[in-house]
């Protein structure tokens, strides 16, 4: 035992100026309620001051990898408390907003095909939901709930396998089982154009301005310029199996494509024509159908794997690094980000263990599970969200479309990319 273990001040470790200020300032006691000004003043001091050795410095915090596969004791207990209070009847007590237990609405969807790979619904900015039920394609107006049948494929051996509204919701792209791709003008209910190029079914499509990208069972991805006479802008043959997931990033510079061979490719828009991918990500062990770009961080992508995988993976597409991966233990058919609160919703199909036929809501970026929803009697096939970002629809193999008001209440000016700057310094914002 050392003698003289008294506290010996060490100048280099002390903030002399601040200490002096605190000691000599008699005007007001340290007041917690003026913490905003205090914190701001402190920030200024920090930024303008040199340390006691006269060296300027900068401070960084390490965020290198997931810290633990186990939660520390205290965290678990707080989380349990948080979760327990969500299911409390009195929502006012919860630190978290109320997630509805039941659907807002259920629509019958007879003949909805039980096909994991198809993407048969799309909710346009015009508030019209386009959904393919078997060989028929319907338009449902969410404002007046009127239904209108847009098309029906005769014959019985062809049907729509992918439906996507253009960004301005003036054109509807429909991909078919027998490899045709059509553009429809919905206002006039007319077929505008047939786009050639594929030799297999088109299960995934995505718009990027005037470019329509289609992914097919023939393993290729085609970028169509819909305004040009010769529509085929580029054809990319990289995937080794059906391209079942396609999503353009929010700012439109990157494309994520998921394949049935379990690969996820990230493409740079300007470099696609040379078939040069930006990243080739092979972490999933099953088909990658569910893809969703984060609306508040333009580099971040979420992907979901099929039955043998069941993982939601969060990617930094700038570096091609997986920054988080959580096991849901169930087939993932869709992912939707909440634009109003920092969360992501996953839709599930088959599972041997948990989460079968459910929708799961995860807090972001912690990826802790906030809750589960879902009354589907069989697996969920597709998810889509409303233009106002409040409602999510799940299409199930039980031939229902269920509407969930799960993302609200809306925040004034939701967390889109333009708020990115404020979000990058996450330290002060507690977004709930």
């Amino acid at each position: 035992m050392q003698k003289g273990d008294r506290f010996i001040p060490n100048r280099s470790l002390m903030d002399i100026d601040r200490a002096h200020g605190l000691l000599t300032n008699r005007t007001a006691p340290f007041n917690a309620t003026s913490s905003f000004n205090e914190a701001y003043r402190q920030k200024l001091i920090e930024n303008l001051t040199l340390d006691s050795q006269g060296r300027p410095f900068k401070i960084m915090v390490f965020r290198g990898s997931p810290k633990s596969s186990q939660k520390p004791i205290r965290f678990v207990d707080e989380l349990r408390q948080e979760v327990a209070s969500i299911f409390d009847k009195d929502c006012k007590q919860t630190p978290y907003r109320c997630i509805p237990k039941g659907e807002k609405r259920v629509l019958d969807a007879p003949k909805l095909r039980n096909d994991y790979y198809a993407n048969i619904m799309s909710w346009g900015k015009n508030n019209i939901l386009a959904v393919a039920l078997g060989p028929e394609l319907y338009l449902w107006n969410s404002e007046d709930q009127r239904v209108h049948k847009l098309l029906q494929v005769p014959g019985g051996n062809d049907w729509p396998t992918s439906v996507t509204w253009s960004e301005d919701a003036r054109t509807l792209a429909v991909g078919y089982m027998c490899s045709s791709l059509q553009l429809w003008d919905v206002e006039s209910s007319k077929l505008i154009r047939n786009l050639e190029g594929h030799s297999g079914r088109i299960a995934s499509t995505a718009w990027n301005g005037r470019i329509l990208t289609s992914g097919s069972r023939d393993k290729s991805i085609i970028n169509h310029d819909v305004r040009a006479a010769n529509n085929l802008a580029s054809c990319i043959k990289r995937h080794a199996d059906e391209v079942c997931g396609l999503k353009w990033s929010t700012v439109g510079n990157r494309l994520a494509s998921g394949g049935n061979e379990n690969l996820l490719y990230i493409w740079e828009a300007s470099k696609m024509s040379s078939s040069k991918f930006l990243h080739r990500l092979s972490d999933h062990c099953a088909a990658v159908k569910a893809l969703a770009w984060c609306p508040y961080q333009y580099n971040v992508l979420a992907s979901g794997g099929g039955l043998s995988d069941g993982c939601i993976k969060i990617w930094n597409t700038q570096k091609g690094v997986c920054i988080n991966s959580i096991e849901t233990k169930a087939q993932i058919c869709g992912l939707e980000w909440n634009r109003h609160h920092k969360e992501i919703l996953s839709g599930h199909g088959y599972s041997i263990r948990e989460n079968q036929n459910k929708l799961c809501l995860w807090k972001y970026p912690s990826m802790t599970k906030v809750g589960e929803l879902g009354n589907h009697k069989s697996r969920i096939i597709n998810l889509c969200q409303s233009p106002d970002g409040i409602t999510v629809i799940s299409a199930g193999a039980d031939e229902t479309l269920r509407f969930w008001d799960v993302f609200g209440p809306p925040t004034a000016g939701n967390l889109m990319v333009s708020d990115l700057q404020g979000l990058l310094s996450f330290r002060t914002s507690l977004l709930r």
Partner: protein, 237 residues
């Protein structure tokens, strides 16, 4: 006075950086263990510095710390690291409860000219040993970090909404989760922020109590240790 001639070893800049970053790894583990940030069962004993040191067996924490110390080592070699701070925060309120501050003074001549120094490895080890002992005994005076709702058992259910095999996530680059502990690095201003780090505020404690621990010196890097903690609220009443 008869002087015992202690055999001195040559310390290079790289060697010193390795010693300091390794020290930090073990110190961080010790703090996480002693302050109960992770359950005791998740640690295993190893021999280091002539003491039984506890190291986490959790893969996530392991890789977190090893990635971290690799970066620290790089900065130490460049002579650009000024401080490393391990911050412990309340998950519920994000309030900083404890700050373990390791200040580093680097011999500029070694960095500039690539010379080496001499010091006995054993002596460095003894100095580090003294610090590790102090960290372990710090629980005698540091306030308890338990939050009001803590339960004695550590199991958490399957199927309940709290687990689903989740990670405590820290994400690189952009928006991040401030977990129960954080590691800050104070560097020279000309250091580029690596992609697994982001600029941060110092996460200070208001009106802290401070205790200075021993320091160690490799003759190239001198490390001072200080722990500051939030005033125990019960005292005020």
């Amino acid at each position: 006075m008869a002087s015992r001639s202690v055999a001195k070893d040559i310390i290079t800049l790289r060697g010193s950086a390795a010693i300091v970053s390794e020290f930090f790894g073990y110190a961080a583990n010790s703090i996480l263990y002693n302050r109960g940030v992770y359950p005791e069962e998740s640690f295993a004993k190893v021999k280091k510095y002539g003491l039984p040191m506890l190291l986490t067996q959790d893969e996530g924490v392991k890789s977190f710390i090893s990635n971290l110390t690799a970066q620290l080592s790089e900065w130490l070699e460049a002579g650009k690291l000024q401080r490393v701070v391990l911050v412990i925060m309340s998950k519920a309120s994000n309030e900083v409860l404890e700050r373990w501050n390791f200040s580093i003074e680097t011999d500029g001549e070694v960095v500039e000219k690539g010379v080496s120094r001499e010091k006995s490895d054993k002596e460095i080890m003894r100095e580090i040993q003294a610090i590790m002992r102090q960290i372990a005994s710090s629980i005698t005076y540091l306030p308890c970090l338990d939050e009001p709702f803590s339960c004695p058992h550590t199991s958490f259910g399957h199927g309940s909404s709290s687990s689903a095999g989740g990670f405590i996530v820290s994400l690189p680059l952009d928006v991040l989760f401030t977990g129960v502990f954080d590691v800050l690095a104070y560097t020279d201003t000309d250091v580029a922020v690596p992609f697994t780090w982001i600029e941060s505020d110092p996460k200070l404690i208001a009106n802290p109590q401070m205790v200075k621990l021993h320091s160690f010196d490799t003759k190239i890097h001198k490390v001072d240790t200080l722990v500051s903690y939030k005033n125990d609220e019960w005292d005020e009443q």
